[in-house]
Structures are given as structure tokens and as C-alpha cells.
Amino acid sequence: MYLSRKSSDARSIFNKAMTILAGTLVVVALIPLLAVLSYVLIKGFGRLNLDLLTKLPPPPMVPGGGIANAIVGTLIMVGLASLISVPIGIGSAIFLSEFSNPTTAQWIRFATNVLNGVPSIILGVFAYSVLVVTTKTFSAYAGAVALSILMLPTIIRTTDEALKIVPQEIRWASLGIGAAKYQTVLQIVLPAALPTIVTGVTLAIARAAGETAPLIFTALSTQFWPNSLSQPTPSLAVLVFNFATVPFKNQQELAWAASLILVLLVLTTSIISRFALRRKTY
């Protein structure tokens, strides 16, 4: 049986050792994720009730209460930021992939990558100096603008990639039966790329929802319901930042619960993007 494998030879042993090493490293890589998720779950689960989702945070030393205002604030600001960044981002990506010449496209892609690398706190300071200082008030608007700048590069890049995957032949086919360029883009290319674009947008939204730094400078936070877009507005991320560091037990518990809600929000968006990807054509 000269073809049989000897488990004792050097190659087999090396093979096994490497497989075990790689497997171990995967486990090590997963530990932080599992640890964070389970810790947040354990710490936050106790306060996961209706009060949490419907009531305002109490003053120090007062028990109970919830984080409803922060949830609403986050939804408002992320929603507003999406309204700003999604049209601009998708529009830019369409220009990049379908209309611009290669040299221009290269520069715009480079600029997008640079913007993607700018630390979020700098975006916060920028929005602070442009919107908060000039209007003399912290506001949901300023927060939304900061978040939208943060979302923009992700949306542009993923949409650009999504459009590039759509095969050239489909564009030719459309042009070949007498479609104008804009008809081809709007009616053929964009629908074909839509699932991937939706994924990119949800990822951008998930990232924006968890950002703290840009909001500290722009939306600040309050203990009350947000009642105007031009006033300081609470958010989950800033609430976690504020409450986690105070010496009151109730506030700390609320911070954990808020973290859990935030994680669940991000998880939900990821799941939505997974479902969108299932409908992918290319």
C-alpha cells in the first residue's frame, strides 16, 4: 500500500499543527466579540423593560426611569443624517461609476478614502465650529450633519463597488435598444445594484448610530424629550458616555441597558442588510 498516508510523516504533522493553530486563533479572535456581547447582555438585560423604552432618565438618586428620549433622539439624528447623506452619496457614486472620466474618478475615490480615514471626533469639531458656534446652540441639525459626513464615504464606496459589479454587457444591451444613458442607469443599472447599495447604506447607518464623538460637540445631550431640531438632543451613545462614568448605580444600569439597545439596533440593521443581499443579482 504505497499510496497510503502515514500520519507520522513530517508533512502530515505540519498540516495538523497548522490547522490547530489557525483554529485556535479564530477562537481567540472571537473571544472579544462574545465577551462584549455577553457582558452587555448580562449587565443590560435586568433593566430591559417597558419603562426603559417609554420613560425619561431620572435625576440622580431617584430609582427607575428609562432612556426613551435618547432612543428617539438617536432615531431622529440618524434619520436626518441618512436623509442628507444617502442622496448625496448615491448620487456621487453614480457619477463616479457611470459618468466621470477615469482620472476624475480616481481623484474622487482617493478623496473619499481620505474622508473615510478622518477620525470622527474631528468631524464633530468641524460641525461644532461651522454649525454650533454660528447658531449659538447645540442642535439635532448639527449632530445630523456631523453624522452624515461620517456616513458619506461608506455610502459612496459601497455604492460605487455595487455599480461596478453590474456587468458591462447589461449597459450595452440597454444602450443597444436605444436607451439613453440616464435611462440605462436609472432603470437597469441601479435596480440591479440595489441590494448591495441597501447593504452599504445600512452599514453606514449602523456605524453612525453608535458614534459618540461627533455628537458630544454638536447635539450635546439632555434629560428631556427632544422637542425641536434646533435644540440640544439626547442620543444613546452620548447617554452611555455620560451615565457610565457617574457614581450612581441607577444611572450605570441605564447606561448598560442603553448599550444593549444600541447593540440590538446595530444587530438589526446588519440582519436587514443580510436579507437585502439575498436578493442580489450579481
Binding site: 454587457e169 450595452w172 444591451a173 443597444g176 435598444i177 436605444g178 439613453a180 437597469i188 450579481y282
Partner: protein, 273 residues
């Protein structure tokens, strides 16, 4: 007489009465590179004309000149003239989008849109502002493309879910739904099995009463089976690269039984290419 623009373009070249497309001293360039040189060719109306020749001889490039699809390639430009029904296709006044509405194209790889079968066929008429009964037109186009019986119960299903041969017939239906004058086919059977190929060939025969068809093919049997006229292209090496040129253009029967040029004889005998 078709009109591409509000302005009438006076271009009555000396033409045979039944010429649909004509290339006059056509040179095709990519940047400074000459890809195809000096083609003079008249394509007759309601006939099937096939372009054969070895790879790189420029037959697909030439085909795409007839509906200005090469315009999408930035470095592309031509010298010489191309006429469709006496109009210079490359005149300044001509809108390439209008040209492509008149001169449709079927590609090598079946490329249905990721839409339903119905929408694939209806897309062309819709963007062209078709006002009549769209259902009827879709049925008629699919019937003409010999696909109706296979898909009539699943018009809402995605066009990409069909088999390769069905996809290609869907692409043909999509092309003829805008009722063009000419259908250009760029190796339409290259990706298909022999049975699907046969179906497409039968289909081409049915279509030629209504359309002028130009087909590029690597399959010489196919050219001899389906076409009325055959143009043989060859490629020659020059210091600046390979240049394609038209060797011989004649009735298909003559090309395959009694070619005048030695190159043509060698090629159809399978001695090169």
C-alpha cells in the same frame, strides 16, 4: 426614409436600391492604432449577411460601427463613412441613441436584464414611448423570437432564470420589440449548445422577411447555413500591430464553393484561423 434628427441630411450616395447599410472607405481606429482598414461593403435589405474571419480581424468592431456602439469606447474614432438608408450615421446631426433604436444588437453572451421576462421585452418599447397595447407587443415579439410557448405561463419570472438558449431568444425578442430596421448579431450562438443554436438559426430565417440581419460568426457551417451573403475578413501583421481588412464579399454560395481569393479558400478549407 428614416429621420435621425430634425434636419434632413442630404447624402444620396450611389447606392443599390436595396442597400440597408453601407461602409465606404471605412477605417476604424483606437487612439493611434488602426484596427480595421479600408472597408467598402453594402449590406442588402432583408438578407442575412455574415461576417467571418479569424480572431482579431475586426469583424465585431465593424459590426459595432453600424449602430455606433463603439462610441462608448473613448479612444474609438473612424475615418470614412457609414450609411443607413442613405443617411450618414456619423454625421454631426445624428443622435447615436436614435441610431440604436433603428439598428438593434444581440450580443455574444446572452445578457437579459435582471428583470421579469415581460419587463425585459417591454423595456425597449417603454423607453421609446410606446403608446399601443404593450401586452400584445410583448406576446408578438416573444412569438417572433420562438419563445412565447415556453414562457407564456411565467412572464413574471426573472429573465436570468431561463436557460442559455432561451435567454438568447429573449434578447432577440427584446431587440425586435422596438421594431428596428436592422438586427446586428455578434456571435449570438457562441455560448449555446447545438440544439439552441439550430433554434436561433431557424429564427433568423423567419426574421429576415422583416429585418435586415448581420451576423458575426466563428462557425463557418453556420455562415453557410443561414446567410445569403458572406464577407470574409482577414488580419495582417504590420509594424504597428494587427490590422483587419475585408478580403472578399460575395454571395454565400460563391464564398464557400468558388472563392476568388486564395486566403478565403484557405480559411474555409480550415488551413488557418
Amino acid at each position: 426614409m428614416t429621420h435621425y434628427s430634425p434636419q434632413t441630411i442630404p447624402q444620396p450616395k450611389s447606392q443599390v436600391e436595396d442597400t440597408a447599410l453601407e461602409a465606404v472607405n471605412l477605417n476604424i481606429h483606437y487612439g493611434s492604432f488602426l484596427a480595421v482598414k479600408d472597408v467598402c461593403l453594402k449590406i442588402e435589405r432583408n438578407k442575412i449577411t455574415s461576417f467571418i474571419g479569424p480572431s482579431g480581424c475586426g469583424k465585431s468592431t465593424l459590426l459595432r460601427c453600424f449602430n455606433r456602439l463603439n462610441d462608448l469606447i473613448e479612444t474609438f474614432h473612424i475615418k470614412g463613412e457609414v450609411y443607413h438608408e442613405n443617411q450618414d450615421l456619423y454625421s454631426r446631426h445624428v443622435d447615436p441613441v436614435q441610431v440604436r433604436r433603428r439598428i438593434g444588437m444581440v450580443f455574444q453572451k446572452p445578457n437579459p436584464f435582471p428583470k421579469s421576462i415581460y419587463d425585459n421585452v417591454a423595456y425597449g418599447p417603454r423607453i421609446n414611448g410606446f403608446k399601443g397595447n404593450l401586452d400584445e407587443l410583448v406576446e408578438q415579439s416573444l412569438t417572433q423570437a420562438a419563445l412565447w410557448d415556453e414562457v407564456k405561463d411565467k412572464l413574471k419570472q426573472s429573465g436570468t432564470a431561463l436557460s442559455g438558449g432561451q435567454q438568447q431568444r429573449l434578447c432577440i425578442a427584446r431587440t425586435i420589440a422596438v421594431q428596428p430596421d436592422v438586427v446586428l448579431m455578434d456571435e449570438p450562438c457562441a455560448a449555446l449548445d447545438p440544439i439552441s443554436t439550430l433554434k436561433i438559426e431557424e429564427l433568423m430565417n423567419d426574421l429576415k422577411s422583416q429585418y435586415t440581419i448581420v451576423i458575426v460568426t466563428h462557425n463557418m457551417q453556420q455562415a453557410s447555413r443561414v446567410s445569403d451573403k458572406t464577407a470574409f475578413f482577414n488580419v495582417e501583421a504590420t509594424p504597428k500591430g494587427k490590422v483587419g481588412y475585408l478580403v472578399e464579399y460575395d454571395d454565400t454560395v460563391n464564398i464557400f464553393t468558388n472563392p476568388r481569393q486564395i486566403h478565403t479558400r484557405d480559411y474555409i478549407a480550415g488551413r488557418f484561423g
